[in-house]
């Protein structure tokens, strides 16, 4: 069972590594933001699997912390964009 958990987490890590290609290529800023979403969700899944692997339930607290603070990043991103757009509108 433990070997299976490790295979699953390695697979999820490889998913993150594949997602990096999109950060590298992705033509708009929004594409890059998207991949942070991918990292967040996949990281959550890795934490859950590791919690089962090490039988350590406190890892769930780490996952919740990541979760509840992810929303902060999203909202402050929104602010950055708003500012950028105002700047762009002012320039034109």
């Amino acid at each position: 069972m433990n070997g299976f958990f490790i295979i699953v987490s390695v697979f999820l890590l490889l998913n993150i590594a594949l997602g990096l290609i999109r950060v590298w290529r992705g033509p708009t800023v929004a594409d890059r933001l998207l991949t942070t979403q991918l990292f967040g969700t996949t990281g959550m899944a890795i934490l859950l699997v590791l919690a089962g692997y090490s039988k350590d339930l406190t890892l769930l607290n780490v996952a919740i912390t990541f979760n509840v603070l992810a929303i902060l990043l999203v909202i402050s991103l929104f602010q950055v964009w708003k500012k950028r757009r105002e700047k762009a509108n002012d320039d034109t």
Binding site: T28, A30, D31, L34, M44, L48, G52, F78, R85
Partner: protein, 102 residues
């Protein structure tokens, strides 16, 4: 291998399949909106399957509650950010400023 472990294995494999689908969608789909669709839907479904699998494996009600909340918060955060990204991109395209060199 007990029945619990069998259920866990099946759920985790299904979850991994959805994660793979989401990542491939992000890599292969042609425009931002379809990528958003692939990512936020498939990945959250995959996370849901993995969460269910781990809840079955750990088999403690307190942990299951926490895992459920993890999934719920991720759903909330990711749907909010999906909405914001899509709205931002739409407004950008309307002002004809879509490329990065804004």
């Amino acid at each position: 291998m007990t029945i619990h472990e069998l259920i866990t294995v099946i759920l985790l494999v299904v979850g991994c399949f959805f994660f793979l689908a989401g990542t491939l969608g992000v890599l292969r789909f042609p425009d931002l909106f379809s990528r958003l669709h692939a990512l936020t839907k498939a990945d959250n479904l995959g996370l849901g399957f993995i969460a269910a699998g781990m809840a079955v494996y750990i088999a403690s009600p307190w942990a299951a509650l926490k895992i459920f909340f993890i999934w719920l918060f991720t759903l909330l955060a990711s749907s909010t950010s999906c909405y914001l990204i899509a709205r931002f991109q739409k407004e950008q395209e309307q002002t004809k400023n879509g490329k990065e060199g804004e």
